[in-house]
């Protein structure tokens, strides 16, 4: 992975929205990315389903996965050390904590993107329960199927995954799909869209 390619995404998370960051911020970003890259605690739990699990037989998953020959369900995480680092930095250097948090999110997304290339070119993006009109509560089915507790990822009663730098995703194999803002629950108050931007790279996805 070329970590310098992560910068636009990190600027996005930090609210730069196309503006030029200061040299100090750029230096902090470089420092944090090097640290994340050296640590590289990325790990994935996944299963490949040729028979679609029952919870996916409803909108919006049905249309998202239409025509897919298989479905990959994954939970990917940077582990608890990223959370611990953010906590430490919140006292040692709060500005760096903010940057590290954004860098860790971008790094995780990029690691997951790269990991998914093993499923070939023809696949959808990672659709997470909670996106596009789906229910975040569907995460419980993801957890039942994958048991990511076995690598230490847990789902709380209020449906957040811990460690916090964790993503869950559903990927259709043999079909393509591009990300869109349609049905996003943040759309009415999206800071990106107010500026005419998007939270994802619309060229790539």
């Amino acid at each position: 992975m070329n970590i310098s390619e992560l910068k636009p995404r990190i600027y996005g998370y930090l609210g730069f929205k196309g503006a030029v960051a200061s040299p100090q911020t750029d230096a902090l970003i470089a420092e944090c990315l090097t640290e994340l890259d050296e640590q590289n605690e990325f790990r994935v739990t996944y299963k490949i389903f040729t028979e679609r699990p029952a919870f996916l037989n409803k909108p919006p998953y049905e249309s998202f996965l239409k025509g897919a020959s298989a479905v990959v369900i994954e939970v990917a995480s940077l582990g608890a050390t990223a959370d611990a680092r953010i906590k430490y930095l919140s006292v040692a250097n709060a500005a760096k904590a903010v940057v590290f948090d954004a860098c860790a999110s971008a790094f995780l997304e990029a690691c997951a993107d790269e990991w998914e290339t093993r499923f070939g070119e023809t696949r959808t993006y990672r659709f997470c329960p909670g996106y596009g009109g789906s229910e975040v509560y569907d995460l419980k089915y993801v957890f039942e199927l994958l048991q990511p507790e076995k690598v230490g990822v847990t789902l709380s009663e209020s449906y957040y995954m811990l460690p916090s730098k964790t993503v869950a995703g559903i990927i259709g194999i043999g079909i393509s799909a591009r990300k869109s803002c349609e049905n996003c629950f943040m759309l009415p108050r999206c800071e990106y869209r107010k500026e005419g931007a998007r939270c994802y790279d619309s060229e790539k996805n």
Binding site: S69, S77, A97, V136, K150, V151, G152, S156, Y160
Partner: protein, 780 residues
């Protein structure tokens, strides 16, 4: 069990994959009752193994949710496993909930869940296998519960990734220290990896474990083949790697996910091989949950978390202001401490309770191993028991009564102990007498089964002003004690009490002690002269190979540059003529503090606040609103302003410069706190006193804090759609406590409309809007 560790023994294989083959899905634990014959059949198919694991991986009071009772399922599972006619080990898996501080499950709650299982099964099983744990802290709770509630062998295995880390960051070396310290009968790794990928982790465990090692890999990773998911590894290939494990010294081998009876049958061909145990020689080591400090070379123990002679820390401890304590811990880590001493000995405090809390709070922020410094055995036990890692206990001395109280605690939890060479008669004057006490401490420790490497001896520093002749006895004692093969410690700066130019005496004595073999100076790591001496000693003693670290530190050294100047170099980028305003806008903390002090020489404190600090912050805020300054810079500016406010406060010791108190919390059910933390930094930078309740805070705690502090405002944060309800409950609790106005809410999922719906007084979209709204609210 007599064969354990002598002859290779075999565990059974996968249960889940065998249940699927029989078309059995759903909750696996309930199948023990609903389909006992099928479960028994699977157990029988593994009857060639020495150990049969019950079908109970998810059976504990926290994870299992269903219509059966734990007892019914557990006893049925044991009966099913008995069908194989072999030793039955009860399978104990994790709770599936994250322990605090990352999650909200407490150590004691986890312990109770595991104790419940032990109570039910203790009379009908042959042992326990706690497996697939990725959090060493949770595994510690589990092992303690099993050992304290059932008198049966306990095996404990964790799941590592291929690079050798568990998800919570423990390495194989840390896991071995902690689990062996807790007295497990076998330890190792299972799940997550195939046998080939597990070789590296297995090698590391075998290199340091003094107890038998158990390895249970998966059948590799599933792959997609012709539209079907398959495990590719054959039973022969699996057995090939198992043979390698045996050659490397494993005592027990079995299989995890995807392995089937034919795999275990192949393994059984290896049964009875003589276990190749090597002589393990390990250095003294202490650990946190994610960091191990091995005593090879000098290790610095930071002494500053001790209220003696530190009125501010004393005040913070009494007021339970943990920010001050955490800040001190982080500063010592930044300055290079390897271990942190924690002392909370104040007569007005409940020492056991406060010791536990402070250790927990410090561990949450700084990952350094802790030295639990107390003469109260109850405080020591409470903190050591709940400590995530292997701590150092400070201390025992040569008195039998003290050793009889502390050594059992050290043995039970595997802690390292600092032994002071004194006894009921005080500190003996001669080196030889202190040496004799050291010998006695080591011998008595051995009586309790404590290895020599778990003892560090302190030959005690007396002040040169009062006991000048005894200084050399301390050093001579150190030299003698080294011959006993233990590590040594000294509270170095005690030597200079009562004399002028203490730093000179401290660093000179430190150099002399290092030359006599001092391993752990207990000192102030922020003392630049002493840390410089340590760096120099690294070169002279050869531990800093090719003087690499020394050169990296001092390559730009010129005689004119003092240590103080070196500290300042971190602030390059600030022009010499930078004003206080510039420093705040640029986020230069140290420089801002220095210039604030200068301003205070000629100006009234409040005019510095209102004339410079607030306008500079307002300017930063304006630039942020205009999109010319961004979040990290805003936070840096706020931090610089906070430092400046602190400098001003020193001039106003009584009333301070607080503009009012604000209580902040992330509501119950939500653990996202970076947004709340940004609000905290910015609010503090504007001179507000912030009481931060943390994350996942129950409504009643927020209401309690409201009643205690009567704040100007309460700020609540939530990031998830699922926790807005919890925010509403918190607002209701606050209203019930009499909070009529001043409830602010914020967070990604909130909007002005939602804020209104749930009854909040103000919605603010970010930290800056929070402070602006608070300012106008405060002036009403």
């Amino acid at each position: 069990m007599l064969r354990l560790g002598k002859e290779l023994m075999i565990f059974d294989g996968g249960m889940g994959s065998e249940l699927s083959k029989k078309g059995l899905f759903g909750n696996p634990e309930e199948l023990n009752v609903t389909h006992p014959e099928e479960v028994k059949e699977i157990h029988r198919s593994y009857s060639c193994a020495d150990f049969i694991t019950t079908n109970t991986f998810g059976l504990n009071g926290i994870k299992y949710v269903g219509k059966y009772g734990l007892r019914e399922l557990a006893l049925a599972a044991v009966e099913n496993a008995r069908a194989a006619g072999k030793k039955v080990f009860f399978d104990v898996g994790p709770t599936g909930s994250m322990l605090a501080p990352l999650g909200s499950l407490s150590f004691d709650e986890a312990y109770s869940a595991f104790a419940e299982i032990a109570d039910i099964t203790k009379d009908c099983v042959d042992g326990y296998i706690a497996e697939t744990f990725s959090d060493l802290y949770e595994l510690k709770a589990c092992v303690l519960a099993l050992k304290e509630h059932a008198n049966k062998p306990v095996f404990a295995t964790m799941t590592f990734d291929a690079r050798g880390r568990t998800l919570t960051g423990a390495t194989p070396e840390i896991a071995v220290e902690v689990l062996e310290g807790l007295g497990v009968d076998a330890l190792g790794a299972n799940c997550s990896l195939g046998p080939k990928e597990m070789l590296g982790v297995a090698k590391r465990i075998l290199a340091c474990s003094g107890v038998p090692v158990l390895l249970q890999p998966n059948r590799g990773l599933p792959v997609l083949k012709g539209g079907k998911t398959e495990y590719e590894l054959s039973a022969d290939e699996f057995a090939f790697y198992a043979e390698k494990f045996a050659e490397m010294g494993a005592s027990i081998i079995g299989g995890c996910c995807g392995t089937a009876p034919e795999f275990i049958e192949k393994l059984c061909a290896l049964r009875g091989l003589q276990v190749k145990r090597k002589q393990i020689s390990r250095p003294t080591a202490v650990t946190s949950g994610t960091r191990i400090v091995e005593f090879c070379g000098v290790k610095v123990c930071g002494e500053r978390l001790n209220p003696t002679g530190k009125p501010k820390l004393k005040e913070a401890l009494i007021a339970q202001n943990y920010d001050e304590i955490i800040g001190e811990a982080v500063r010592q880590k930044e300055a290079g401490a390897d271990i942190l001493d924690i002392n909370v000995g104040l007569p007005q405090l409940n020492e056991p309770e406060v010791m536990e809390t402070v250790c927990r709070k410090v561990s949450e922020y700084a990952d350094l191993p802790l030295q639990i410094d107390s003469s109260n055995p109850a405080a020591i036990e409470r903190a050591v028991r709940r400590y995530n890692g292997i701590p150092l206990i400070n201390s025992v001395n040569g008195e039998e009564i003290v050793m009889a109280k502390v050594f059992p605690i050290a043995k039970k939890y595997g802690a390292v102990v600092l032994g002071l060479t004194m006894d009921g008669r005080g500190v003996p004057p001669t080196a030889l007498e202190r040496f004799e006490i050291a010998k006695k401490i080591i011998e008595r420790a051995a009586d309790y089964g404590i290895e020599r490497r778990k003892i560090i001896i302190d030959t005690l520093v007396l002040t040169a002003s009062a006991e000048q002749k005894l200084v050399k006895e301390t050093l001579e004692g150190l030299r003698l004690v080294k011959s006993l093969g233990v590590k040594t410690a000294l509270g170095v700066s005690n030597v200079s009490f009562g004399l002028p130019n203490r730093p000179l005496l401290n660093k000179t004595f430190l150099a002399a002690a290092l030359a006599c073999g001092l391993d752990m100076p207990i000192m102030n790591p922020l003392d630049a002269e002493m840390t410089a001496t340590l760096k120099a000693f690294g070169v002279l003693s050869g531990t800093d190979e090719n003087a690499e670290k020394y050169i990296a530190e001092y390559k730009d050294f010129s005689p004119a540059s003092s240590v103080a100047a070196a500290v300042k170099k971190t602030e390059n980028g600030s022009a010499p003529s930078a004003t206080l305003r510039d420093c705040i806008l640029l986020g230069l903390k140290e420089k801002a503090e220095e210039l604030t002090r200068k301003e205070l020489e000629s100006n009234e404190p409040m005019s510095v606040v209102n004339g410079v600090l607030i306008p500079a912050l307002d300017e930063a805020g304006k630039l942020y609103d205009e999109g010319k300054l961004f979040l990290p810079q805003l936070v840096a500016a706020a931090q610089a302003a906070k430092t400046a406010f602190k400098a001003v406060s020193h001039k106003l010791p009584k009333q301070g410069v607080s503009r009012g108190t604000v209580v902040l919390a992330t509501v119950k059910g939500d653990v996202h706190d970076i947004g709340k933390n940004i609000v905290k930094v910015v609010a503090e930078s504007y001179g507000y006193n912030v009481v931060d309740l943390g994350k996942d805070v129950p409504p009643e705690k927020v209401a309690e804090a409201y009643l205690k502090h009567k704040p100007l405002a309460v700020g609540l944060s939530a990031l998830m759609t699922t926790t807005v309800e919890s925010m509403e409950k918190t607002i209701m609790a606050l209203r019930a406590a009499g909070c009529g106005r001043g409830i602010f809410v914020g967070g990604a999922v909130l909007s002005r409309e939602i804020a209104e719906q749930i009854g909040a007084d103000f919605y603010t979209k970010d930290a800056l809007e929070f402070v602006k709204t608070l300012d106008s609210f405060a002036s009403r």
